[in-house]
Amino acid sequence: MSLEHFFRIGETITLGSHTFTAEEIKAFASKYDPQRFHVDEAQAEKSVFGRLCASGWHTCAVWMKLNLAWREDLDPRPWTGPGDAPQFGPSPGISGLKWLRPVYAGDTITYYRRATGHRPLASRPGWRMLTLVAEATNQSGDKVMEFDNAVLVKADQ
């Protein structure tokens, strides 16, 4: 089995959808990003956004939640070798994060992941860097978020 096939390089995976309620937008923002347009409807109406909208970090965190929750139940692709199954490790970071449109209270956001490539890590023999693109769209089909992501993977090949 090739790593390309196992990693689903080039395939866009729909991770699932999430509806952002006003209550959870305010609860998240009051802890991590208490700017007025994320915690107060009346203040949000006076802001550039016009309505209560989610912290961009909230939009990102739900991507991670759905990324982990996504199971291979519908299209299983277990590692068939050679060697041990690749193991996913930590991520060194993200880049090109764009919050393209506000995520308003009541919006239903659909999340996607697409693996774009992988390469051996000279600094860590036995590990590879897998690169991914994350995207999210709202119920009107408009893209609200995108970023490039990478994750370390322990793989024998």
Binding site: Y32, P34, A61, P90, W99
Partner: protein, 152 residues
């Protein structure tokens, strides 16, 4: 009341202190339970057995901790109009339970919007350093701020 920080109050090279805060095991587990439920973010033993070396905050949690430190540091007392995104966020070292993070923001670039009078773009590089002096997190972004006249 005019906020302390409007577009005109930023200068290239300026350094803003974001203060310090200690990250608890409880908050690491709380965030991870909802958004990033991997063993090294939920359990001390699993964290020790992982490449991270201990119960470690989700990288997304570190982004959120930084965001709150920036809010408390200057953003809540500013003319901020949000940010269109982040150039990069780098999780350079694990943030472990009990670590104390100290943050700073350095202003790198300023420009007024050509299309929207009264709006300016402030590009900053931000970092979080732990109690051992190691940089654990680095982020670059451009925020939008009203000018004093536009905010009046």
């Amino acid at each position: 009341m005019m906020p302390k920080w409007a577009f005109e109050d930023f200068e290239v090279g300026q350094e803003l202190k974001l203060g310090s805060r200690t990250v608890s095991a409880e908050e690491i587990i709380e965030f991870a339970s909802e958004f990033d439920a991997q063993p090294m973010h939920l359990d001390e033993e699993a964290g020790k057995a992982s490449i991270l070396g201990g119960l470690a905050a989700s990288g997304w949690h570190t982004c959120c901790i930084f965001m709150r430190m920036m809010c408390d540091g200057f953003l809540l007392d500013s003319t901020s109009q949000g940010a269109p995104g982040v150039d990069y966020a780098r999780w350079k070292k694990p943030v472990l339970a009990g670590d104390t993070l100290t943050g700073k923001t350095v202003v790198e670039d300023l420009r007024l919007s050509a299309s929207r009078p009264g709006l300016g773009f402030v590009t900053c590089r931000h970092e979080l350093v732990n109690q051992r002096g190691e940089m654990v997190f680095e982020l670059k972004n451009t925020g939008m701020f009203l000018t004093r006249e536009a905010a009046a």
